[in-house]
Symmetry: C2
Subunit: 452 residues, 2 copies
């Protein structure tokens, strides 16, 4: 009896698929990692469904890989050892919304846009913004963040409680609905970012934030990347609670101008977003303008209307597309994060590598966090170019670790960053492995990820 037949004992037929198109959809994510087809795709509708599936998977020694929206960038959803792809899209409900507590409990398959649509009318938002319309479950599993991390942190900072089904079918809660806790070991932080290797997340309680009544975007340019980093530091050191602060290098600006018909000054740029009440925002903008001018910025421009602001940030978001959506082009994205003082060092290193290897690409940075991405493009199916790009991503990751940073600031380890875990974490890798061993002794949960 095949795994599909066994699953049919506990799930309805429409919760199980082995159609070619579904197997293909669940074989890959947004990255260029090689796809692997699962044997079967399941569509659980409840925590109980997942318990049943994991019981079967344990009995049959079949791998289970959770799937959210497929927008990951390190192959976390690719079922390396085939088996079951666990698609959580039907578990997409808001379970409990407490505006007065500024918390919401959701199922993992809800996307951040769906969630915000439901809560924005109460003046509340979930502001973590990884760019793609990822599911909250996927964002929790990878500890995602994005442009707003400088203000709101990463997923781990915004999760109060997780309901998790463990490999053996036990269901636990990792936290409570209280904002702070010193009770017991922090399992919330441990399961967040564990990429489906320690358990399947079935509910997530999130901190929410007020929607600021007033927003302003601004940008300026500097002759060098060092001065951009200096500018970012000045904002942080003055304890200004900026909501976004992004570095875009000159090459990236040129690319987006060409792609999107923009006319940004083609120099290294900082993009800012300020949020709050009108008075506090106006005061912040004035302070930041002065700080930037002290360092020697050019082209300070403020977008006060909603239209201008959207325009400016749309351009920033289109940077990614400008590199990605070119005919016949594939790409890998680096995601290193370093201490702020090392940012200009590693950006220079990266740009020199790209030039040396003749790789076209751009650098976009969440500069307030020391996190930046390099888009490294290659011609589709060109194995030689692809291997050059992979060589460069490796060099950048190892350099970041040497500089006291990490190989991944927000995308997670998945497949692409496994090779750097020992360099980055040393013997702590063995501690991590011992937790995996204790919680999933048969290694059924997303095998082949995080660890070599």
């Amino acid at each position: 009896m095949g795994i599909k037949d066994i699953l049919e004992k506990v799930l309805r037929k429409d919760q199980i698929s082995t159609s070619e198109s579904e197997l293909y959809r669940h074989s890959r994510d947004e990255s260029s990692h090689d796809p692997v087809l699962p044997d079967v795709v399941c569509f659980p509708e409840s925590t109980e469904d997942i318990q049943q599936i994991l019981h079967i998977a344990n009995e049959q020694a079949v791998a289970v890989t959770a799937y959210g929206f497929g927008s990951g960038l390190e192959g976390q959803v690719i079922p390396m050892e085939k088996g079951i792809s666990l698609n959580l899209e039907r578990m997409n409900q808001v379970i409990e919304f407490s505006p007065e507590d500024m918390t919401v409990t959701v199922e993992p398959g809800i996307t951040r846009t769906m969630l915000n649509e439901k809560i924005n009318k109460y003046g509340l938002q979930f502001p973590i913004d990884p760019g793609a319309d990822a599911t909250i479950g996927g964002m929790a599993a990878t500890n995602a963040s994005g442009t707003t991390a400088v203000r709101y942190g990463s997923m781990r900072d915004c999760i109060l409680d997780l309901e998790v089904v463990l490999a053996d079918g036990r269901v636990i809660h990792t936290g409570t609905k209280a904002k702070k806790t010193s009770s017991g070991y922090s399992l919330t932080g441990l399961f967040t970012g564990s990429e489906g290797t320690l358990g399947i997340i079935t509910k997530i309680t999130l901190k929410l934030f007020g929607i600021p009544e007033y927003l302003i975007a601004a940008r300026c340019t500097f002759p060098t990347v060092e001065e951009c980093a200096e500018g970012a530091y000045a904002v942080l050191a003055n304890d200004i609670s900026i909501t976004r602060m992004e570095l875009v290098d000159d090459t990236s600006i040129k690319t987006v101008n060409a792609y999107g018909d923009y006319t940004f000054p083609e120099q290294h740029s900082l993009f800012f977003e300020f949020a709050g009440t009108k008075d506090t925002v106006d005061a912040q903008v004035a302070v930041v303008k002065e700080l930037m001018e002290d360092i020697g910025c050019d082209n300070w421009a403020v977008a006060t209307t909603t239209k201008e602001r959207h325009e400016l940030w749309r351009a920033r978001h289109e940077m990614a597309y400008a590199f990605q959506h070119q005919q016949g082009i594939s790409y890998f994205i680096t995601d290193v994060c370093v201490p702020i003082s090392k940012l200009s060092v590693i950006i220079h290193y990266t740009r020199e590598l790209m030039d040396g290897y003749h790789i076209h690409g751009g650098i976009l940075g969440h500069v307030g966090d020391g996190n930046f991405h390099t888009f490294l493009t290659f011609e589709k199916e060109n194995e030689e170019e692809k291997s050059k790009v992979l060589e460069v991503t490796e060099k950048i990751a190892r350099k970041a670790i040497e500089l006291g940073g990490t190989c991944t600031g927000e995308h997670g380890v998945g497949i692409g960053k496994k090779a750097f875990q020992r360099q980055e974490h040393g013997d702590a890798v063995d501690v991590m492995k011992s937790m995996k061993q204790v919680l999933d002794p048969s290694n059924i949960l997303n095998p082949g990820k995080i660890f070599m």
Copy 2:
């Protein structure tokens, strides 16, 4: 050969003490939990010393309990199974200070005041403020926070990396110096708040924050605790980055007026602190004043000068002393944290309990976090009164958990909150225990804490 003789093989004589006064000092903390004398006190001076001590402890099956400043409130430093008290006061150095990264790496024995003295001149601060001048190691071990958590979070939010000596002597690093990471399992969060039961923290890398150029304190009163909670909610919902926001109930105000010769209006009060540049702070104060007046506050008062501001916050800090430092009086402090919407419910419940049991005490709350403390006093050596107080602390803790909260928001589990772990965490307690088992199979690290 006794444990002292064995320790003398690896430590100098002045690093080992069995003097009565040292044993006494290491038998207790600031709480009223029963003291237990260790067999011996060690004063390690390096990570290597601690590795040696743990090797001996493992061989001899002797308990090791870390000791920072002794300011804990749940008996974490009390050596329940005697053995070795590991006093970290000689490991109190700044190892690496990177103002440009806004990070610092310190040894565990440095206190937060010592640390701030070294870094304030660079315009930077470590703002977590639990009240006492605790060590950074102790604060990390209990995931401490305090009045500034509403702005800066708890220790777990501010730690980038820990160096930890595991029970078997291995030394690991749990993170990096980068501000964000999605690499591997979050061991930083796991060891933070583990109260010396999973390993001994030997280095801590902290996020630092800019010292705001301008501060304003303010206060107002409301007829009911519900309106205080409503006021706090309005501040949070408007995304105003306040640095402190404290609830003090009418009884506590009366007590501090009597104790400190203050003349605060004797009603339920909110205390605020705003920080930033002068313009942003002035704007924030104006917004909050308007929000409070909309809800119906009385007695809005602003302290603009440093002297007035210190006066106002000194009064808040003296609340604790007003209850504690009365001749012949002991006390227990509750530390529950609930969803904000449940705050007035549990505060009423608490006040009714105190009245019903005829217990004198006060309620002080980190209202922005839903965390509050009840000082429950009893006559020293009066076992009947003490057991009444313990009964009330139990009822408050269990009520908080029922309301979706936690038995401890910032003090930790130690001895006093062990009994509530199963109610709060359910089967997750077994997951926690399995991690303890895997990392400390002989249970030498702070036995008798966290778990029953």
